[in-house]
Symmetry: C2
Amino acid sequence: MANLEKPLSQRKKQILKAIIESHIANGEPVGSKYLMENKQIACSSATIRNEMAELEAMGYLEQPHTSAGRVPSEAGYRFYVDTLLEEYAITTKEIQEIHDMMSAKVGELDQILNMASKVASSMTHYTAIAVKPKTDQVTVDRFETVWIDSRRFLLVMVSSDEAVHSKTITVSADLSATDVLQIADALNRCVAGRTADEITLPVLMELESQLKNPALMTPVMKLVYDVMNRYDHGELNVTGLDRLLEYPEYSDVTELRQLIGTIENKEEIVTLVSEAEKDRNNVVIGSESEVKVMENSSLVFKPVIKDGKTVGAIGVIGPLRMDYARVLALLGTLTGSISEMLDGGTQPKLPKGEVNDDGTG
Amino acid sequence: MANLEKPLSQRKKQILKAIIESHIANGEPVGSKYLMENKQIACSSATIRNEMAELEAMGYLEQPHTSAGRVPSEAGYRFYVDTLLEEYAITTKEIQEIHDMMSAKVGELDQILNMASKVASSMTHYTAIAVKPKTDQVTVDRFETVWIDSRRFLLVMVSSDEAVHSKTITVSADLSATDVLQIADALNRCVAGRTADEITLPVLMELESQLKNPALMTPVMKLVYDVMNRYDHGELNVTGLDRLLEYPEYSDVTELRQLIGTIENKEEIVTLVSEAEKDRNNVVIGSESEVKVMENSSLVFKPVIKDGKTVGAIGVIGPLRMDYARVLALLGTLTGSISEMLDGGTQPKLPKGEVNDDGTG
DNA sequence: GTTTAGCACTCTTTTTGCCTTAGTGCTAAT
DNA sequence: ATTAGCACTAAGGCAAAAAGAGTGCTAAAC
């Protein structure tokens, strides 16, 4: 079990790499004879066996039972991803495919992300996810209101991260158009520019005194809090869940159930992705994550950056023997292509102007 | 196979009902002896066998193989649902449970529906869905604009179904606050009150002539079309997908894959539900639906009515041997409870006012 | 000292045959 | 019209046997 971080000989690396790649391709334990014959390793099967025994002692390989070939351990995959993996040379055809599918959807960020997840799933043959991460605390810098009818008005909030949020508020009291303007005034005076923490009781009392109709306090403030605190407490869109069933590792029903459960539940995965650093390749192998249920699965994802900020992520969930190289490459170009679409504020594709969703500026 | 619509004798009905209910409970083919012993049928197993043979000839039963018991056919389930089924007496405890879980979420329609789907799934032990049906074509009755910054403004649309939609529009040109007001003016003059079909080339030309900056035409009109045509082209939220795996009928991987695929794909199911009549109990048994892949599953759903209009639906997907009686009863009280919450426009729970999502006012 | 050939060993998987079981259909008696 | 009785059928379970795959180890070769 203990992996003492000894540097591996060149041949050990070669063998480990060959084993992992075979196993990724076939899903079956790989044996010494197979390696010798199919993987051009320049020594006999006996030598390979010796090397494998050592690799197993180091914790990189496992043996399902005495007379089976070897299977990579989590540590093995980790080592592979960190040091052995050769960059997958993405084909121009694949690039073309990505661009074709993506350019169809020049629209809201949500739509782009969901489309990207579709692309990711169909190109990698794994289940894909689009994540809108939890966002940090923001302030609302400007409030506007639009009168709708005597019972409803629209509250528009431009927040410090340049997002625009708007929500309809329904009240039981009668509202005039001027009432509604006055509400915006009061909010701009008392609340604008503050973080949630800075909205203390005195601030609220001041606000209440400025409102002609204090009955509005509750719904309005609820909304403001929502926007500032965790309006975006993350979203997760799943595509190609059925693809899990392509892999025999998910033929165990109870395990599959649990995994589908966690994916559907969203919370844990959103947290995991939200807490990731934005410039790394994020590869979570099995029990490396605290998400218990993912013990036999890997999650690979890549943030989508806009103007230097993480605005989303695209990821792929599959068995431990995921084709990391290809997935990483595809996610790379995919997120790159999205960032390109997003950056600069104006997209090159639409000549004149374009449309964004609420709150995604 | 041929079911000649002969009226069934009382005893045949009794036997058919007993078979179906046993099969729903156990999932196994049921035999004559079992029926006699456990279901209080006042005749010998031989007689039951004779009756079963006839019921099979009529198409209500099937036999997996020569020496197995009988299993209900789709026609059998249909007959059961239409004429045999006794109303399930929902317990006060269940009613309590529903109300408890639902009252936690007095909020937007979307949230209510999704919560309801959670409740439905957890109480029935089947996969549940919340559907927002496709809506008919609407007109936009009023436009408002809010200036955000030199490159963005918010377009607010109040549509004929009283929903409020708002979207940020980003443009490459510089915008002043007055530009933005002028856009609203132009839209109100040319487009307000028309259906999508009525927006013809002359109307568009008129609009363009009124816009100070014709570059805005494309994004603005795209948005307007979206709202009017199929902004709501239906939504489907799934809960408890993992519950499918509780039932042995889904242990066939390829079938399960297909079903999960269709559920995830949403389109077909949304259409199916959207086209349903609003006052019937909607029970789709296996291949009754045109959705190929649902051949071995049933879908039971019930619309959610607000002010006489269908605003959503809650449904349950499971194996053919679904506990129809209980599911129907639970969906009934569930949707009833939602309609109650929604009706009247203002919810009694919030004393002062409340918040609605965009477009669901 | 490393590599390799060879072989015994281990464990899994597949095959085979046999027996048991569940439930039927039919016939003849009630 | 009902029922008892019985022969018949197909599936499922079990155990022994056979086949297969791959290892670890030893002893020889480089």
